[in-house]
Amino acid sequence: MRARVHVTLKEGVLDPQGEAVRHALASLGFDGVEGVRMGKVIALDLADTDAEDARARVAAMCDRLLANTIIEDYRVEIA
């Protein structure tokens, strides 16, 4: 079973890296990009067979290590 964790900065937390990318897109002529937020994707290969158990375990992993919930949100996909 596979899980994908998407970690992004919370709304309201300034993302200077995203801003730099937005400016670079504008300089390439891509108009109308009103916001860029950077994040990361963490792919996990799990021995789990039950999707709901896996989801709960991955959420616990996010809370304890994979995300810093002071500044980041996470979303878990199980496949």
Binding site: V13, L14, P16, Q17, A20, R64, L65, L66, N68, I70, I71
Partner: protein, 227 residues
Amino acid sequence: MNPRAGIVVSPGANCDRDLAVALRRAGFEVAMLWHKETGLPRGLDLVAIPGGFSFGDYLRCGAIAARAPILRAVADFARAGGHVLGVCNGFQVLLEAGLLPGALMRNAGLRFVCDRAALRVETAGSAFTASYAAGGTLVLPIAHHDGNYIADPTTLARLSDEDRVAFRYAANPNGSMDDIAGILSPNRRVLGMMPHPERAVDPGHGGTDGAALFKALAGVRSGAALV
């Protein structure tokens, strides 16, 4: 008997020996503590977490080191009232471990800053800052990519109201909220700071403003009570 300090060493730490020199010069006996240790030596008065790039800054700066076995022992030591100093990456580790509030993000200018920073001493009310005059200025080296302090408004207000901001930048180099360069725990015995006092203890460093922090700490004797 000399005061005793332990320095946490993780792969990628690179200021551990500098801290040892600064602490020994201030009179400490120093033990280097590998991150896989599950306990601390008995009778420590201080645990110091050095700067560097522990675990290659993987995931987030300080995130992996903060989950190392020895950090559980350091957290127990802090909860029992022990003094803990985290410098630069060590500050990041203390935040990731939840021993101090807030987080350190990528510098607002996106650049690694390597410079000397003027700091205002905001409080002399801690064992770390007792030798400085509140309101006074000192100059310490800074060298970091992720020193941009962030906390929610409630936390920021509490840090100020409880006199727990130890140092503020005179000229903000990294975007830190409230110009914060270093903060104290509620019991004032855990200090995390981005600037490097251990790199300013010898005239050869170009400045000695950091030496007073270690000298003041050498007066702390908590070890006997914390075995």
